[in-house]
Symmetry: C2
Subunit: 240 residues, 2 copies
């Protein structure tokens, strides 16, 4: 494992950096109290996230034109408000709710872990989330990235190879000098296939208490770390 | 002047944020001592910078394919080493010298000025420099941008309108909600033409003690500030 070659770490964001489920549950619960409707906020969060892969697939196959994640989240949200029979939200309330993805809160280890990793490596997002979403999220959550990179910059969605290759190219380094950090094996597989090094992060509560997927690293993970602080410790050990 | 509408400031970098001339003079002088050659370091710096507009023009007209600034700087550097009769640099020394643009040092007001502006606005680079260059520069100089944006993301060079429009699009805002900050009137004119607000920064020493251009703001500047701290003060006054 040539860890000493690594120049940059690229991070998946939804689930790996931020706890989308908890943040959405909290905001939807508050909104329901304010607007006096009833909702299963956990199911609402899970349904919103579940709409994400099919929506990206429609872009990938050309059924939809290129739409960024803000736009896809809104398409899903409009269906979801019908499904959950939530009426009476104004357009500006819907816009605000859709931007909950810009306000997602990081897992407890993230801020200090990133600060340590930033001492030794360039750290960048590499999310299917669009640049504006990631920029606003970093500002809201006080996360200091060296660079905001997004699938949006290649007009492809992960795990398409174009996303990873574009990121390495923009960072001015080779895929072998780049490490993808993610809580999802499909993402690590996509990165590994174009030559990235890979680190799996355990986020066994991302999908709630009954999560069944991505509980363990798959064969494409070079490292496995319980959180960002553990990853910093492992990489510092390997490079010194 | 609807300053209250501004959501993001986009910054020109070479000359506006960093003092390219002083940094290059210092590094070339040190290299000349180490490698025992004689050079007019100020002329070398000025010649390198002077090669920049013609090189971008060759890309713009299709005479050269899309090349990022790292590549253009290297094309110019190779000519320049011949012109200044500097021999005996190894390939790795040339690569290192070319990356002096990644190590440029900011003007004295920049770090504290940006920190103040970042409290009220999203702050992003918007440079003809490539993403890797800007990312490395920010890391070297401890500049905290919310987002690294570059002409590279549109495959056009400023002042082409595509560069500014792509930046606003990626930030998820309208041109009218974006303010271009630059020490160069041509840049502000390009931004203004697509609807940006604009701020001119006085950098009367950018081209050395005998500078004759961009000494005063032109007609396309909505604001003029003597440095980033002054700009922060002016924008805070207008928005409160």
């Amino acid at each position: 494992m040539a860890v000493s070659k690594i120049k940059a770490l690229t991070f998946d964001v939804f689930g790996t950096v931020v706890d989308w489920r908890r943040t959405i549950i909290d905001e939807v619960t508050q909104l329901a109290q304010k607007k006096e409707f009833t909702v299963d906020a956990a199911r609402f969060a899970d349904d919103w996230r579940a709409g994400y892969q099919p929506a990206m697939h429609r872009v990938r196959t050309g059924d939809l034109p290129w739409l960024n994640i803000d736009a896809l989240h809104r398409v899903i949200l409009d269906d979801l408000l019908d499904l959950h029979e939530i009426r009476g939200l104004s357009e500006s309330e819907k816009v605000h709710l859709n931007y909950v993805w810009h306000r997602l809160k990081p897992w407890a280890d993230v801020r200090s872990g990133l600060e340590r990793l930033r001492q030794s490596f360039t750290i960048a997002t590499l999310s299917n989330g669009n640049v504006a979403l990631l920029t606003n999220m970093a500002k809201n959550a006080d996360l200091r990235w060296d660079c905001i990179l997004s699938a949006e910059l290649s007009n492809h969605y992960k795990p398409d190879p174009e996303v990873y290759l574009k990121a390495a190219q923009l960072l001015g380094i080779s895929p072998e000098e780049t490490m993808m950090v993610a809580a999802h094996n499909s993402d690590l597989k996509g990165a590994k296939n174009v030559g990235f090094q890979t680190a799996f992060i355990y986020r066994p509560q991302e999908y709630g208490p009954t999560q069944t997927t991505d509980l363990e690293p798959g064969e494409h993970a070079d490292f496995a770390a319980k959180d960002f602080i553990d990853l910093a410790t492992q990489l510092e050990t390997h490079t010194t």
